[in-house]
């Protein structure tokens, strides 16, 4: 049972990593949001599996919150936002996608290496998960760096949060409940503020291309 549980969590973890790569290569914003929702779903699956296998009941609540927030609420907000801002066009990446994929692979290798000494101490069922979580965080980071539009950057930011949450649930069986609630609240409030903020940017620049936002620097 435990071995099977570990295998299932590993499967979800692999799914998470695969989706992170898919997001890295995706040009269309709508598809990006759907991928983000799918990643949330994989997170819910792994959290629920860990909860079932270990009998940690608070993880069920955590899975519930993740489902509500990352599979339903945030994608709906994002879809609405792009409809109202009317930004469905394809986004070009700053580096071409095959190069980006290669850089991504290097990052995954780096993340696994970094996590090796820690995974050895892990008593939890899936040892590779911490490395995968760190890889997801780094890939989302890479995605943020290589996009020049505001909305894909925001999605990258949220995907990074997914990677962190996965680290919390799979490696440590979840943070204390009060902390998870606080993090969820912060993400939600942050999303609302970002929404307001994107409208302000568009009002000012008539565009959401953040290359407009490059005047403040040291010369």
């Amino acid at each position: 049972m435990n071995a099977l549980g570990g295998q299932i969590v590993n499967l979800f973890a692999a799914g998470l990593l695969l989706i992170a790569f898919a997001m890295l290569s995706q040009r269309r914003i709508v598809a990006l949001i759907n991928l983000f929702a799918l990643q949330g779903l994989a997170l819910v699956g792994s959290t629920a599996t860990v909860a079932f296998v270990t009998g940690q009941h608070h993880l069920y609540y955590s899975a519930g919150i993740t489902f509500a927030l990352k599979v339903v609420v945030l994608p709906v907000i994002l879809h609405r936002l792009i409809r109202r801002l009317n930004v469905k066009w394809d986004v070009e990446t700053l580096i071409n996608i095959p190069t980006l994929m290669l850089v991504g692979i290097v990052l995954v290798v780096f993340a696994f290496n970094l996590a090796i000494p820690i995974s050895e101490f892990s008593q939890s069922m899936a040892r590779g998960t911490l490395g995968i979580a760190l890889a997801c965080v780094l890939l989302s980071f890479l995605m943020m760096i290589t996009r020049s539009k505001a909305v894909p950057q925001v999605i990258g930011f949220l995907a990074m949060e997914n990677g962190l949450f996965f680290a919390a649930t799979s490696a440590t069986y979840g943070m204390p409940m009060v902390v998870e609630l606080g993090i969820a609240l912060d993400v939600l409030v942050g999303m609302v503020i970002l929404g307001v903020f994107l409208f302000q940017i568009r009002e000012q620049f008539d565009s959401l291309d953040i290359r407009h936002l490059e005047s403040l620097k040291e010369d």
């Binding site: 965080v137 919390a168 000012q204």
Partner: protein, 483 residues
């Protein structure tokens, strides 16, 4: 224990009340009243800790010892004086058409919410809640940085949001790793993130995990401290936001972020038994001091210049806490206090000067002594104080830091001295013509309300000449806690 809840409830209620109170004319006074009530609660809490020692309250979720109680008092005090300064300042901004009714409502409400998040971050015993509060502090201030809605302000706020968001995400990963190490010792109860519990078992935490966790925590919270090379958001956010917000960002937020780092350092030191954490902090600190000092001379915008000066001073404090030991920690805590007071005083004076001149470009601000002697002297004395001229508190703390560095890390002393010299030349050369230069501007009609400036500078001066014995024992206790 009840006092801690009261201390947090007042600004939270203030935020809700000021949002409901809306655009009424008396909102600034209400803001001051709430800030004053917070200060009173903080004073009460301080008195209690002074009398009975550390307080642990509300299911161990809050912990106040001599290290954070002085930061609580400082935060509440600067929060109150800044609200006093912001009352007339923001009215003039509204009369100039830069602020509107709805924006003022947002401003006042978020000011109180920001104070709440700062105090929560300081008093919480739970490292997870500490993270939540730091993130909430970013969220509360991001719309304040963009409140003028100019292209530059929007850009600054976007940078602030994304960079601090990414930075703080690293801190969350560090917190998760810390929890991962702690639950193996403390079990899977909720107590595994409570600092007091972690402190008791820090020697048993796994060193390999803790060293990685500390790197992530330092990078994460270090972004908010403004450590080079993670400092890019800081000058923009300070320059483009309203001046009272620059004052509280510099005077409070950076302190609280550094406080988070040193709380984590105590745990890392205990687990590693080596100087790893201290060396990392010394490296980042030294780099920040040097880079910021050289950027100082290239600035044209007055608020940007003082923002770089904040980076320099935060770097100096990080360096001091990195060295560790009773004297360096004492100096770091003293520097934290005087830097908060003096830097916020400078921002108050700068606010009036820039408001009168209608620009933040330093070449166009001239003859402040003729326009308004109070603003001129405030800026001059404040600048001398922050540059570490002898009678002021900054001199005392910098002197202690430098002498400790000479004794323990002699190689760092010339670098620090050179950087401080460069900073002195850069800032003084800019401030001198602004204060004493010639101007065609008319004398300021109203007397600027600058009581907060001189109160802050007065305390900064006093701390340089004479540290009251209870304050000295208090600092010494806190310094001992840090090891």
């Amino acid at each position: 224990m009840d006092v801690v809840v009261l201390l947090l409830a007042i600004p939270l209620a203030g935020g809700a009340f000021l949002w409901a109170w809306g655009e009424r004319d008396s909102a600034p006074e209400a803001n001051c009243a709430f800030s004053f009530a917070t200060l009173a609660a903080a004073a009460w809490l301080t008195a209690m800790v002074e009398q009975d020692g550390p307080i642990l309250g509300f299911f161990e979720q809050f912990f106040v010892d001599s290290l954070n109680v002085f930061l609580v008092a400082l935060t509440a005090f600067v929060g109150f004086t800044t609200s006093l300064f912001s009352r007339p300042y923001m009215r003039i901004e509204r009369d100039h058409g830069r602020m509107t009714g709805p924006r003022l409502r947002l401003y006042h409400s978020m000011y109180q919410v920001f104070m709440f998040t700062m105090l929560l971050a300081l008093t919480t015993n739970n490292l997870g809640i500490l993270w939540v509060a730091m993130e909430a502090a970013t969220l509360a201030t991001v719309l304040l940085v963009s409140v003028y809605r100019t292209p530059a302000a929007l850009e600054a706020a976007w940078k602030y949001f994304i960079l601090c968001g990414v930075g703080i995400a690293q801190a969350l990963f560090g917190t998760i790793l810390l929890y991962f190490a702690a639950e193996r010792v403390l079990g899977r109860e909720g107590s595994a993130l409570l600092w007091t519990h972690l402190d008791l078992v820090k020697g048993l935490l796994n060193p390999a995990i803790l060293s990685l966790a500390f790197v992530f925590l330092l990078v994460g919270y270090g972004t908010k401290v403004g450590l080079v090379p993670l400092h890019n958001w800081l000058p923009d956010a300070h320059a483009e936001g309203p001046t009272p917000i620059s004052a509280v960002l510099s005077g409070l937020l950076l302190n609280v972020a550094l406080y988070s780092v040193i709380r984590c350092k105590v745990l890392a030191d205990g687990a590693l038994g080596s100087r790893f954490a201290g060396n990392m902090m010394m490296g980042f600190g030294l780099l920040s001091v040097v880079v910021a000092a050289f950027f100082l001379s290239r600035q044209r915008d007055i608020k940007r210049m003082f923002a770089y000066s904040s980076i320099e001073h935060m770097g100096l404090m990080t360096f001091a806490f990195g060295m560790g030991g009773p004297i360096a920690n004492f100096a770091g805590l003293l520097h934290m206090t005087v830097h908060s007071l003096v830097k916020s005083a400078i921002f108050f004076a700068v606010g009036h000067a820039a408001q009168k001149a209608g620009t933040q470009v330093m070449e166009e601000i001239r003859g402040l002594l003729k326009v308004s002697p109070r603003v001129g002297w405030g800026l001059m004395i404040g600048s001398l104080a922050i540059l570490g001229m002898p009678p002021f508190g900054v001199f005392a703390s910098e002197f202690l830091i430098l002498t400790t560095a000479m004794r323990e890390h002699a190689w760092a002393t010339p670098i620090l001295l050179a950087a401080l010299g460069v900073a002195f030349a850069a800032v003084f050369a800019r401030v001198q013509p602004m204060v004493f230069g010639d101007t065609s501007h008319a004398r300021l009609k109203h007397q600027p309300a600058l009581a907060p400036v001189f109160i802050h500078l007065g305390i900064g001066l006093m701390l340089g000449l004479y540290i009251p014995p209870y304050l000295a024992t208090w600092y010494a206790q806190a310094a001992k806690l840090l090891g």
